[in-house]
Amino acid sequence: MFFRRPAAKRTKPAKTLVVLGSGGHTAEMLMLMDSMPLQLYSPRTYVVAATDPMSGNKALTREQKWQKTTSPTGFVVHQIPRSREVGQSYITSIGTTLYSLVFAFGLVFLERPEMVLVNGPGTCIPICAAAFVYRVLGLGRAQIVYVESIARTRRFSLSAKLLYHLRMADLLFVQWEALAKTYPRAVYAGRLY
């Protein structure tokens, strides 16, 4: 969608890294995945904030449902330090952001995903930055797909702004047509809810 072309016709499953951003972000992401042909997006790595134990549990519950077994396989859940808590000052968040970045570069290097699927909030930025830098350096080949929250009807979130303006996302979805008019490289393809 941006300046890189889609991959050539493939049938081999793509290793997928999904960031579950907590609360409504996690809910929207799992809704999207409900509709995806997950046998093609496999194995899966979930990244959750260390402060958000709920999302890891939700991923497990959903994998059980998708795989129709109480002991699903082919996925892992990693915890990442959060770059900025709601309400944390921007000053103290610099230190934690740096830590998140180091962690994300390590994780993405080890996991080597072919697709990074994210929908905010800030937790997803270090992961996207790592995936993007590795690709620029020829050390990775992850496609970065971002879905802006349905709550954003007129203005981008900070995450969306960064990924859009730095052209880090290969596909950036918005869920309101008006937003796609403001940001022409964004894609409106319907709403999750």
């Binding site: 889609p6 016709k9 509709s35 393809a189």
Partner: protein
């Protein structure tokens, strides 16, 4: 549930929203609900410290006041069941609660929390209100919103679908041409 029961469900989800709980802890609101034919008020108050004390004797979580059954609790894993069995939902502006209510076809008044720092929740409430799917009101304007509320004026919300996004993603990855 008796056929004549018309329940109003107030929900703050997993958030803390004292201003909303305080506003619904009102005898005036209770009388208004009764006037409009509602018989029951259920409040999911979340993890805030404020507990209703005007519409129920302090420390009591259920009772009947002004001819309306009243009940409150902190949280329930089955908020969806409360939503679908209600005649009106008054909700915080979280997208989960909003769309759960809209897709269940239950009339909705949304109250965005003015204390949220980056208040994009107001955006969603206003957008859907402008489209005619719900009514959005500040906590201070809730009473008036209930007074003027007419469920028959709301337009049904047509549920979205992820299939469009999935098609784009599959194409991006080369799984489909």
């Amino acid at each position: 549930m008796p056929a004549a029961e018309r329940q109003v469900f107030v929900t703050v989800g997993t958030t803390k929203f004292e201003a909303l709980v305080e506003r619904v802890d009102s005898l005036e609101l209770l009388r208004l609900l009764k006037e409009k034919g509602y018989t029951k008020l259920v409040i999911q108050k979340g993890n805030g410290t404020y507990s209703p004390s005007n519409i129920l004797p302090k420390g009591q979580t259920t009772g009947t006041t002004e001819g309306v059954q009243v009940e409150y609790f902190d949280y329930s894993p089955s908020l969806a069941a409360y939503i679908t069995s209600s005649a009106l939902v008054i909700s915080h502006a979280g997208s989960g609660s909003i769309f759960e209510t809209l897709t269940a076809g239950v009339p909705l008044i949304v109250v965005p929390n003015p204390l949220l720092m980056d208040n994009h929740q107001v955006e969603l409430g206003e957008q859907l209100a402008a489209m005619g799917h719900l009514v959005s009101a500040a906590p201070d304007a809730l009473l008036d919103a209930v007074r003027g509320f007419d469920a028959s004026k709301l337009l049904p919300y047509e549920k979205g679908s992820a299939s469009g996004m999935v098609r784009h993603i599959d194409r991006q990855m080369g799984f489909v041409p």
